[in-house]
Structure formats: structure tokens, C-alpha cells
């Protein structure tokens, strides 16, 4: 099989999708988390500040999901069809939640009425939280494996998704995004809201540390296939070790009120956790709980070599451009958020 720099094409595309999903987690993670925390702010001005802190960037962040979806469709069409049709109902709810979240942000500021704003505030928090939990649920099921038969058909039912491990991953994802969002918001705000957020950040970090410990234990005990690779390649233990060190650094920087550094570390830990997932999964994308032989590997699912090469070229041209726009956007809106007449 053709290789580039010693890696074959499906592996490259696996890395591209991994990179896109990580980018999505790091970027949209904080604005989803900010959404989940929204109802904790009581004052109208605080809520507006919190919304405008993510205002210029949330739409760009969500685009990473669209690109990651397109990349999965393009590179591993078999998996795209199997995963999405298997998770039919969760994905439909996910799509509806995405719609409600987008319109909550957009519509809230359009009327001054109290009930109107309250309605969209609730809708915003509920949809942000639902999106996070559903993503976590899908992730949890992919880590845990699915009852997939020889024909790549799902043999379970809706209840199969709600297994305790997947629910734990969903809650952990929520705790991670809430922490990530809280750090982002505290970094972007000042005065009273800032003071309030310093308390919220502390609570979120405790919540996340608890979830982190529980998830680590549950994975070690119940999902042996995730740890098998680490036993085979002990040097990979650097990643979980890195995650733990990062977590300690988040805590240390929060306590020292160095929120920008803490934010960088919470980006890193999001990336670390997704890399752990990717390492455990590789070279499969969907793991079968019926028989490991029925698992769908990147080689079975990949598009043709020609198509993968074209798309790698597109990614190679496109990625620096996307990083360029994103940097420009974040640089333009650096510093503490201020309200003006174009604000939400």
C-alpha cells in the first residue's frame, strides 16, 4: 500500500479526522460549556456578557464539526453510514439541539421582554447541555463498542446506547466542557461577573477531577480493548501521564488566577483525552462487541487511494488557511468582552 512519510493513506486520513475532532472539541468545547453554565448567571448584563464572549467565535467553532463530518463521509463512507444510521435517534435529537442552540443565541437579544429572554436562556442551556451529552454518549459507545454483526449492521436497540459506561463518558464530557467554558469566560470577563466565575471555575474543576478519576477507573476495569495497545507499547503511557500533569497544571493555574495559562492547559487536556481515545481505537473505527473480527477497521472502510490522496492535498492546502482565519478571528476579539450596539 502507498505510504507518505512511512504512514499509509488510511492512517493519514484517520489522523486528519482525529485532528478535526480534536479541533472541534477544543474550540466548540468552550462555547458549549459556556452554554451549559449560562443559567448560573443571574443578572441580565452577566448573561449578555457571557453570550457576547463567545459571540464572534462560536459559529466558526461549530464549523469544525461540519468539516469533521464531511471528512468522515469522504474518507470512511462506510463508517459514516453505519455510525449515523445506527445512532439515528440520538443524531436527530442532536441536530434539533444544534438548531435550537443557534437560534437561541441569535434570537435572544431581539426582544427586550423578560419572558422572551428567559425562554431563550433556558433553550440555550438545555440545547448546549444536550449537544454535549449526546456527543459524549456517542463517544462512550464508540469506546465501549457496539453490537455490530458481520454485515456491519447494528443488532441492539435504543437502550443499548444508554449503558452505564456511555452515560459516564457523557457526564465526563459535560464536566470537561463546563470547566473549559468556565475558564474561557473568566478569562474574557471582568468585575462582578469575573468574581462570580472564579467560584464557578473552582467548582467545575472539582466536578471534572471527580469524573476524570471515575472514567479512568471504569475504562481500566470495563474496557480492556482500550488499554491493550498501551500494554503493548508502554511508551504510550506518556499520554495519560501527560493528561494527569495537565490536569494538575489546570488546578495550579486556576488557584494562581492565571486563567490564560489555565485555558491553554484545558485545551491540551481536551486534546489528550481525544488522543487517548484515538490510540485505543486504532486501527478500528467501530468496535464490535459481538466478535472483534466484525469491527470496522480504517482499511475496510477507507475510500480509494486516489480519493484519499486528493483529499489529503485539499487538507494540506486548506488547513493553514483555516488556522490563519481562526487566528485572525481570535486575535481581533482578544481581551475582555465589552458590550456595544452590535452586541447580542
Amino acid at each position: 500500500m502507498e505510504t507518505i512519510l512511512g504512514l499509509d493513506l488510511p492512517t493519514w486520513w484517520f489522523l486528519v479526522i482525529g485532528g478535526l475532532i480534536t479541533g472541534y472539541g477544543v474550540l466548540d468545547g468552550f462555547d458549549l460549556g459556556a452554554g451549559s453554565l449560562h443559567l448560573f448567571f443571574n443578572k441580565e448584563e452577566s448573561r449578555r456578557l457571557a453570550l457576547n464572549a463567545i459571540g464572534p467565535v462560536w459559529d466558526g467553532n461549530e464549523v469544525w464539526l461540519v468539516i469533521a463530518g464531511g471528512a468522515l463521509f469522504a474518507g470512511f463512507p462506510l463508517v459514516y453510514g453505519v455510525v449515523l444510521s445506527t445512532f439515528y435517534i440520538p443524531f436527530m435529537l442532536f441536530l434539533v439541539a444544534l438548531i435550537f442552540r443557534a437560534i437561541s443565541i441569535e434570537f435572544r437579544s431581539k426582544e427586550p421582554w423578560k419572558w422572551w429572554r428567559k425562554m431563550w436562556d433556558i433553550s440555550y442551556t438545555v440545547s448546549s447541555t444536550a449537544i454535549t451529552l449526546l456527543l459524549g454518549l456517542v463517544l462512550g459507545n464508540l469506546i465501549h463498542g457496539l453490537p455490530i454483526n458481520k454485515e456491519h449492521e447494528f443488532t441492539g436497540n435504543l437502550l443499548t446506547f444508554f449503558n452505564p459506561y456511555a452515560i459516564l463518558i457523557a457526564v465526563t464530557t459535560l464536566s470537561l466542557f463546563m470547566l473549559h467554558g468556565a475558564i474561557y469566560l473568566v478569562m474574557k470577563t471582568e468585575h462582578r461577573l469575573y468574581t462570580k466565575l472564579t467560584v464557578i471555575v473552582n467548582n467545575c474543576s472539582k466536578f471534572f477531577i471527580l469524573c476524570f478519576i471515575l472514567t479512568s477507573m471504569a475504562t481500566l476495569i470495563y474496557v480492556p480493548h482500550m488499554t491493550a495497545r498501551f500494554k503493548a507499547y508502554p511508551e504510550l503511557f506518556a499520554i495519560p501521564l501527560g493528561a494527569v500533569l495537565t490536569l494538575l497544571n489546570i488546578k495550579r493555574n486556576i488557584d494562581a488566577r492565571k486563567y490564560f495559562t489555565a485555558f491553554l492547559f484545558s485545551c491540551i487536556i481536551t486534546a489528550c483525552l481525544l488522543i487517548l481515545f484515538a490510540v485505543g481505537l486504532f486501527p478500528n473505527i467501530v468496535i464490535s462487541t459481538i466478535d472483534p473480527a466484525y469491527s470496522i477497521s480504517i482499511y475496510a472502510a477507507a475510500s480509494s487511494a486516489k480519493s484519499l490522496k486528493i483529499m489529503l492535498l485539499i487538507a494540506a492546502i486548506g488547513t493553514p488557511m483555516v488556522i490563519g482565519y481562526t487566528t485572525f478571528l481570535f486575535w481581533t476579539f482578544r481581551g475582555k468582552v465589552k458590550l456595544n450596539e452590535m452586541s447580542y
Partner: protein, 463 residues
């Protein structure tokens, strides 16, 4: 309960038709915004700044709903059409990936600057962002129309595997991208989008003029909208002809359905209005004899391939529907040309804005390009049936194997409910924004000399 196939088709048709209200508006508004802000930069008149900011707010509303309903489309390929996803992924996927990475990322990053950046960046950078958003929305149309065109006229591929495991694999990227219908269909779609956006601007301008509100601003936006619309309406005549020509060459069954033509040995007329009886295989109406023959073969007496040349199970069954949709689109296209040319002539003679009846027509005209865009797509997509990928994969074979009718019924009800609410909110908020009008800068009223003081002859009490 209806079958999974019917429900999935209804769901896809409904969600995409609803989605398609918004992107054409954003694309067309993007062009108008570039012109408005460009005029502001060029002339320095605050009036243009006011209307630019006013339309940016409406753009944000439309864009937001467009993105939210668009994500649904992307994921629906996988949820409801898993076999199709597997079949076309190798080809369709790269177009979608390119759309995401080249178009959406650019569009959404610069949108942040466009919406929130007035006080953060200088005028030049802001204008640049406006241009990038407009360009990004055009790029996204480009890639998605390429993907759709490949379904109409597949090229640059080979088939691997057998039966339901078969899939199309790309052999030549550029041949796939520039398949026989890409260029014609993209130009037709994008100009349709320009019309949709510019007529919204015209309509709102006309409404203010009728209500005698913000008259200077209204005239300025009307002129921007009208200039885009007039150019677009004329170009659409050309791209429309090109599109019909490609259909006649590559999808003769579709063209035959569009004109209700059955008998392959007969000279084919072109109908102005008509009715198709698919059972009796007969079409009646007002027609140009030999018109379709001329379009296809440049001769009024040449026979044209009819629906009968194709076996019944391989040709569209909703012939009258395709016929009507196609003819509504064409009638609207002709009406838009007449309307915009008439408008431009009157504007040139300084007699435009005091014609109250004409302003009423322009006010309602916003619906015309919307309807034409919708019915044009209905004709194109229903006319392709029973194929989802023309002559390669049937729609009935493209479904997800494990999805049940109950599940699709659930999601269909869910989307119907959500979209009805969404549409009501959209209309309500759009109306609020229009009622509120542009925020007028202090000196904007006195600085603009393109305002025709004497032209407003009707009195507010008449309204």
C-alpha cells in the same frame, strides 16, 4: 404506515426545501452588502454605512438559520441514506470536505468580524471581511452544486464491487468536478441566489418608500438591489438556456418530462402553459410548435427523444409535477426580466419612485425568485427520479438498511414541528427588523444628493 423510502424522501425533500429558503438569500445579500459597503468606502456617505449595518443584521438572522438547517442536510446523508453515502462517499465526500474547509471555515470566521467587528478593525479590514463572507457563501454553493451535478451527470469515476456493496470510485478529480453539468448548473443556481437576495433588498426598499419612511435610505438600497437584480435577471436567461441545453443532451428523460413529450419520433413543441396526463401520455396547452426540437437540435422539424424511449421503471413518474414546476420557473424568470428592465428604465428617467402601483409590485416581488428557486430544484430533482445517481443507483436502493419507518416518522414529525416554529419566528423577527428600520446616522439625511425630492407624490394618508 408509509414505507421507509417514502418517509425518508419526504423528510429529505422537506428539510432541504426549507433549508433552501436561506442560503440563496445570504448569497444574494452578500453581494448587495459588498456593493453597499463598497459605496460607503468610496463615497464616505454615512447613508451607505447605515444601510450596510441594517442589512448586516438581517444577514446575520438569515445566515444563522441557514447554517443550523444546513448541518441537518449533511448528517441526513448518513442517517437516512447510508447505502447512498457508501456509494458516493469517495466522490461526494471530497466535494463536501472541500466545501467545509474552503468555504464554511472562511465564511464563519469572517462573519464574526463582519457582525461584531465595526469598532474592532478599521474600515478596510471590515470591508475585506464582508467580501470574504460573500465569497465564502458563493464557494459553498459551488462545491455543493458540483456534488449534486455529479449525481445528475456522473463523470470521472469507475464502479467497484457488486450489488449493494458497489461504490463509485474517483478516477479523475477534475473530470469529476467539471462533469458535464457542473458549470451550467452552478451558474444557474448562483444567479438564482443573487436574484433571491437582491429582491429582498428591493422589496424592503419599496416598502419603506410606500410607507414614506427612511426615504433616502430606502432609495439607496433599492438602487443597489435593482442593479444586482437587473444584471442577474438577464444573465439568468442565458444560464437557463445553457442548463436546458445540457439537460437535453445528458438527461433526455428529464427534459421530456419537463415538456411532457412522449413520442420519440415526433417533433417536440415548447409549452407556455399546459397540462400533462401521464396515464394517457398526452400533453395539452399553449405551445410554440417545434420549440423543443429547436432547443435540442437547432431545427424546428427534428424529432426529439420522448419518455417512451425509456422503460417505464427507469423514467420519472410525476411527469405533470415536473412539467408544472419547470414552467412556473420559466414564467417567473421572464417576469423578473420584464420587471427589472422596466424598473431600470424608469430609474434612468427619474420616474421610478413615485409610481405607487409599481412599488407595491416590487414589494411583493420578493416571493418570485424564492418560488422560482424552489420549483426549479423540484423539477431538477424529481425529474431525475427514479435515480438518485443518474443511471447508476436507484433512490429505493440508497436507503439505510437498519433504519425503520417508526424512527423516520419520529424524526419527520420532530423536524416538521421545529421548522414550523422556526419559520414563524424567522418571519416575526424579520418583520421586526424591517419595521425598526436602519439606525440613521446624524448627518446622513442632509449629505446625500441622489435623493429625488419631487418624486414622492402620493400622500401617507392614502396608505
Amino acid at each position: 404506515m408509509p414505507s421507509v423510502e417514502i418517509l425518508s424522501r419526504i423528510q429529505f425533500a422537506f428539510t432541504i426545501a426549507f433549508h433552501y429558503i436561506y442560503p440563496p438569500l445570504s448569497i444574494g445579500l452578500g453581494v448587495c452588502l459588498v456593493i453597499m459597503e463598497g459605496l460607503y468606502l468610496k463615497t464616505g456617505l454615512l447613508l451607505y454605512k447605515d444601510i450596510t449595518r441594517f442589512w448586516i443584521k438581517i444577514f446575520a438572522l438569515i445566515f444563522g438559520i441557514g447554517v443550523a438547517t444546513g448541518i441537518v442536510m449533511e448528517f441526513e446523508f448518513g442517517t437516512n441514506w447510508a447505502t447512498y453515502s457508501h456509494y458516493v462517499g469517495d466522490i461526494f465526500g471530497s466535494a463536501l470536505a472541500a466545501e467545509g474547509i474552503f468555504a464554511f471555515a472562511m465564511e464563519s470566521a469572517f462573519l464574526g468580524v463582519l457582525l461584531f467587528g465595526w469598532n474592532k478593525v478599521n474600515k478596510g479590514v471590515h470591508f475585506f471581511s464582508t467580501c470574504m463572507v460573500a465569497l465564502g457563501s458563493i464557494f459553498s454553493a459551488l462545491w455543493i452544486v458540483i456534488a449534486n451535478s455529479w449525481q445528475q451527470t456522473p463523470a470521472g469515476f469507475r464502479i467497484e464491487g457488486e450489488g449493494l456493496k458497489a461504490r463509485a470510485v474517483v478516477t479523475d478529480f477534475w473530470e469529476m468536478v467539471l462533469n458535464p453539468s457542473s458549470v451550467d448548473r452552478f451558474s444557474h443556481v448562483i444567479i438564482g441566489a443573487f436574484l433571491a437576495g437582491s429582491f429582498l433588498v428591493i422589496s424592503v426598499g419599496a416598502w419603506y418608500i410606500l410607507k414614506e419612511r427612511h426615504i433616502k435610505h430606502a432609495q439607496a438600497m433599492f438602487k443597489v438591489g435593482l442593479s444586482v437584480a437587473a444584471v442577474a435577471a438577464l444573465l439568468q436567461l442565458f444560464t437557463g438556456h445553457r442548463s436546458a441545453h445540457y439537460v437535453s443532451k445528458y438527461q433526455p428523460e428529464k427534459l421530456a418530462a419537463m415538456e411532457g413529450h412522449y413520442d420519440s419520433s415526433a417533433v417536440a413543441p415548447m409549452y407556455i402553459v399546459g397540462w400533462v396526463d401521464n396515464k394517457a401520455e398526452k400533453t395539452t396547452g399553449i405551445k410554440i410548435p417545434g420549440g423543443l426540437s429547436f432547443l435540442t437540435h437547432n431545427s424546428f422539424s427534428a424529432p426529439v427523444q420522448g419518455l417512451n424511449a425509456t422503460p417505464k421503471e427507469e423514467r420519472p413518474t410525476a411527469v405533470n409535477f415536473v412539467f408544472q414546476m419547470y414552467h412556473i420557473m420559466i414564467s417567473i424568470g421572464v417576469a423578473l426580466i420584464a420587471l427589472t428592465i422596466f424598473g431600470v428604465v424608469l430609474l434612468w428617467k427619474n420616474k421610478l419612485f413615485n409610481k405607487r402601483w409599481l412599488m407595491i409590485i416590487f414589494c411583493w416581488s420578493v416571493l418570485l425568485p424564492q418560488i422560482a428557486n424552489q420549483v426549479g430544484w423540484y423539477a431538477a430533482e424529481v425529474g431525475r427520479q427514479p435515480w438518485v445517481v443518474y443511471k447508476l443507483l436507484k433512490t429505493s436502493d440508497a436507503l439505510s438498511k437498519k433504519v425503520t419507518a417508526d424512527q423516520v416518522m419520529f424524526s419527520l414529525i420532530l423536524f416538521t414541528f421545529v421548522y414550523v416554529v422556526l419559520f414563524a419566528l424567522f418571519i416575526y423577527l424579520l418583520n421586526r427588523k424591517i419595521q425598526h428600520g436602519p439606525d440613521i446616522s446624524e448627518h446622513a439625511e442632509s449629505e446625500y444628493d441622489g435623493y429625488y425630492h419631487d418624486n414622492i407624490t402620493f400622500h401617507p394618508t392614502k396608505l
